[in-house]
Amino acid sequence: MTCEQFQELLPEIGGGNRNPEYETHLRSCQECWGLVSDLNAISRQAPLLQASEEPGPQLWNAIESALRDEGLIHSARQQPVLVLKREPRWNLAWMLPAAASVLIVLGVLNYQGKIHSISTESAPALTTQSASVQGPVMAAFSVEDQKFLTAIAFRSPTLRAKYERGLRDVNAYIRDAQQSALSDPNDEEAQRYLMSAYDQKAMLYQMALDRFQ
């Protein structure tokens, strides 16, 4: 069995309709095995997404627009062949992680918008005061970092200071690691060191997302 044949039959396999031929190919082909593993992981996560609060139509429209901008989906009018061709069910499944990623980003942005509207509506004086106090501090961070800190402050004001300190330290780590890597581009250890610095920032963001999702 070829990979193409196997992938055409994936919907049946996903439905539990397996036979020894599929299994033999699955065991021998790392690519198909990886694909099936990914699909299984998505299947496991899908009910969790379903159970979560249904986002509004605006969010879905924004996701659709983002996917179109990325070239991941096209309108039926522009690409009629996609409408006519019979696509296996699993082909759409790969877009789920991409949609989930966009969802998270848009969710944070959406959240940020809510925070802004809440704070401006309910406590304009406080906002002005906070902005004047936090202004120089927040200016040290990128726009993404500022949004990240604002989202944390909204959910857990006590943890915000920790994350802010962490973010400042990790940004300095990245800056220094970048300088080291640039000073000698052939230095493999300096490149790895830079990756370690980025790992730290990724961890910081991931911990916050895990905690506040």
């Binding site: 006590t158 250890e189 370690s196 730290q200 961890m203």
Partner: protein, 282 residues
Amino acid sequence: MDSKSRNATLIIGLTIAGMICAQAETRKEMHFKVGRHATVSITNQYGPISVRPAVGREVVVTAVLSSDKVEVDQSQRGSRVDIFSHLLANADATSGQVSYEVAVPADASIVLHASSGQLRAEKMRGDVDFEEATGDVDLRDFNGAHVHIKTLDGPVTLTNIQDGYVEVTSMGGDVMMNAVNGPMVQVNSVSGKIMYDGDFGAGGEYVLTSHTGDIEAQAPAYASIDVFARSVTGLVVNDFTLEPEHTPFAIKAGSAFAGTVNKAASKVKLLSFSGKIHLKKR
């Protein structure tokens, strides 16, 4: 009111307060039958979690809830057990606290997420995935486990971790390792210190990286290592006599060293930007 009456009033008051507290605290015990290589996941916002090996194939979770402002949600799907401290309205770090004592089969994998409070596990063989914001993480007597720890500024202590795949990422917390060895030991810290005391095993890769935190590694004379250490702006000190080896870049005395000791079975990399690096001979 004389002093005797005042003392009596105080005692009665304290007794009543104690009774109220005792009433508010709730103890909940949960039992789950699981198969081999089960996974137990606990998410707890406030309070410690302690894990120890159980006899048999049962997971026993004992939760002490500090008030009625927190609930414990539980679910089991086959050999996967999920426990979640569910904070109710107006819960805070005191009223939302839950203390967990967990007994799991030694081959089970453990996933613990916490904001504060100590995470502690001992005598396990299964994999460990700990995520902790501010509390301590303490692991001891593990064998053949994958250990993944992420922490913001809580200290991490690893003791007697044999044949482990260890990966620790810490922002500000110190990381202390005593008798830790295995095929892969990686510690990445921003400002926390990294301390290693052990023989680096036989055949592993040890990568200790920090930004500003000091790195101190202590090994016996018989350690068999191929070591490379560098601090961009910090001091680098080495107590071992190294057999020189070729490096693809120039070694600057005082800020880097490289070489082998004995048969160079394990690879050791100590990297920092401004922290001091010290390879000590025990």
